[in-house]
Symmetry: C2
Subunit: 226 residues, 2 copies
């Protein structure tokens, strides 16, 4: 079975939450958001984790790791860069040679299901690049100059993480210079010529970016065994 | 000042909530979702309401109206049709001649702010068609045949209600036969050749379609004066 690696991007700051603590460290049912996320990957047999933290985040991380995670958890820390692209690039530099499947996942998406993660690894092995998404529940319009036009909602996919790739695909893709069009990992990989395979994500696989998201997260945790 | 009319579309069934009660009649902090929505429009001086209900919904409506709304509330009932298009068409048939601005709004979007509603009427008066939207927080891909491609997230607008129009624009637009491409009112109006002006909606202006949405709604109501 191919080696499995998760790159967890958790180098964001807390500004959108209106507080000083970056959102990945805020408590969700008594445990930091990031711990919930990491536990999803720790549940996958043999999965190694590379965690990208900002220098500021490192100070939060140390006591959290001591309190909530086993001392032998297979987690390697790397310094997050200025953008997500740079963080992933740093994480890739920390992976030694050889074949692997790499799932890149937001540290603030703790509600991803094990099923989605396993599907992502399987699809990445087959297709080279597998990205979780959901359909838009809303009608969608696209702006064009000063105007805008309706697009067929059935063709619109809202992109989540995990975004999972064969390591070789990812290494090739991240050799390019940074561009502001790289809004996610799939856009970098697509730029290298690799087709992106879409897999089904979940409406509960939310990104925690506001206090309301945290409150919604508490509801999710109250309702379902995660 | 131009006459203001709201068409509230509340003819949906409860199937997505997993219950028997259509979601617009479910309680939110002790009052039905639809009552919260109607109160937003009743707060606008002189605004008349046309409420589209299914035949099933009418049975729920009568006791709700008696309990929660003033007897002289300016609400006219019409029967909802098979689709949103048909419901709006029935509502338009209930409006007498003359000039007016018409805001079409989902019965299950109770968190719309008064500010958005007033902006919508003002913009519809200037532009003929004004539609509330928010930016996508997620990266977006569009499927094309078997593949898909990234689209610039900054050009993608997720559409909400109110969708507000000059009555004459709406009447002309709804004279066409129904098409399955009409996913919202703006798509019908755009089909008639009218340009759509976008106005800023709000991330809290959610459509209540799942039990999680209802729980999130309770959080919103606990935090802010709506």
């Amino acid at each position: 079975m191919t080696r499995k690696i998760a790159i967890i991007v958790a180098s964001g700051t807390g500004s959108r939450m209106g507080g000083d603590i970056p959102k990945q460290f805020l408590p969700l049912k008594g445990r930091p958001v990031l711990v919930h996320t990491l536990e999803k990957f720790l549940a996958i047999s043999g999965c190694e984790i590379i965690l990208a933290l900002s220098a500021e985040g490192l100070a939060y991380w140390e006591p959290i790791a001591r309190e909530y995670l086993p001392a032998d958890a297979p987690i390697t820390l790397v310094t997050g860069g200025e953008t997500r692209f740079h963080s992933v690039k740093n994480a890739l530099a920390a992976i030694d040679a050889g074949d692997a499947l790499v799932a890149i996942h937001d540290g603030v998406r703790p509600f991803v299901s094990l099923n989605i993660l396993l599907n992502a690894f399987v699809a990445a092995e087959s297709f080279g690049a597998a990205v979780a998404c959901v359909d838009s529940k809303d009608s969608v319009r696209v702006t064009e100059g000063a105007g805008n036009r309706a697009v067929d909602r059935r063709t619109v996919k809202l992109i989540q993480t995990p975004q999972t790739f064969r390591l070789s695909v990812l290494r090739t893709a991240f050799e390019v210079p940074y561009s502001e069009h790289f809004t996610d990992d799939a856009s970098v990989v697509e730029h290298s010529g690799q087709a992106i395979h879409l897999i089904e994500g979940s409406y509960s696989n939310i990104k925690i970016t506001t206090p309301e998201d945290l409150a919604l997260g508490e509801i999710f945790l109250g309702q379902t065994a995660f």
